[in-house]
């Protein structure tokens, strides 16, 4: 039999230090601030459990975002079971952080369809190529690229404060 390719891994503490902030941004972008903390906790607890079996050459960030994607779906499903269904997406939170920073863009993101939020979060916040985004969300690379582009195009309308990229390409 071939020998294991699992290389000795860095202490998990280093994984949290390096990727904790990015995963929290991704969770906030996909789920909104209220559920982001739970998604982050579930993601890192699951990652800690599986960490010793992660292949040594794995892309740790893509792995974490994959787990976060599944945990976000779990949380959304659990919320749907416990809540009275509301029409479409909830309104963005009325108040932002005390410094007012990010208020508009976070609200505009929250108003996007989920698929677009995911594509933007995984591509633009986590920095994953569309091929990886597609592997996480399902569907084709082109569909992932289109979802991000459509999302960016909508953000340009709903969030006029920032210059945003052309949505036609990438």
């Amino acid at each position: 039999m071939s020998t294991s390719r699992v290389a000795p891994r860095a202490p998990f503490e280093a994984v949290v230090a390096e990727h904790g902030a990015t995963v929290l941004r991704v969770c906030r972008a996909v789920l909104g601030p209220a559920d982001a903390d739970d998604a982050w906790s579930e993601t890192f607890l699951a990652a800690l459990k599986a960490y010793p079996r992660l292949p040594g050459d794995a892309n740790v960030e893509a792995w974490l975002v994959t787990i976060a994607h599944r945990k976000a779906i779990d949380i959304t499903r659990a919320a749907a079971r416990h809540a009275v269904p509301v029409a479409d997406v909830p309104e963005p939170p009325p108040a932002g952080p005390a410094d007012g920073r990010g208020l508009d863009l976070a609200g505009a993101l929250a108003a996007l369809p989920r698929r677009q939020r995911e594509a933007i979060a995984y591509h633009y916040l986590a920095g994953l190529p569309y091929q990886d985004v597609a592997a996480i969300t399902g569907g084709s690379t082109d569909a992932a690229r289109r979802a991000a582009a459509d999302g960016i195009a909508r953000l340009r309308k709903t969030y006029p404060g920032a210059a945003l990229p052309d949505g036609e390409d990438s």
Partner: protein
Amino acid sequence: MTTNHETGLFQALPAVTEADLAALRDRLPAVTEAELSALHDRLATRADAEGVLDVAYRTLDTPVGTLLLAATPAGLVRVAYPVEGHDQVLAALAARVSPRILNAPRRLDEAAREIGEYFAGRRRAFDLPLDYRLATGFRREVLTRLPGIGYGTTASYATVAATVGHPRAFRAVGTACATNPLPVVLPCHRVIRSDGDPGNYRGGPAAKQFLLNLEAA
């Protein structure tokens, strides 16, 4: 659609640069250190409760420098001096014990308290669960005998060798002390050369002399 040449979020599509990511991050609510710290603590607590925190660690400031304390669920597994390089020690723990390692001070509360009392001159012996897994065979045999050398006293490498039934193995005793994974708590600093010279020490000769002076006071 117009091409955007202003200070846009993403100037360099399709490639996403660090600057693009920073631009988007800067326009979203900030992730603060306090928020991450709270989430980290919650993770450590849950990991411990679910039995998947294989190694917990913290640091402790002492007169001989900042010590790294690490514990498995079985007990204290490693005490490391600054000269050993705490990052290297944690990497070695990841390789030899498990990479499921978090900075999680709570498991080290009792160890930190007792070691603090020791350096304050208020404790002469330690009463802590110890995990000896980083020492095997003869070295472990030597280490388990070290607490028998009383506070404020010393023994030669040859004497310790005789104690474990191998009087000619004083060099191996020296190696066991030099690789003691639990210095201070397992008092290898009380093992000195037959001519009275303190000899070498994992934390450096100055640390060894400090401990001997502390216990002689």
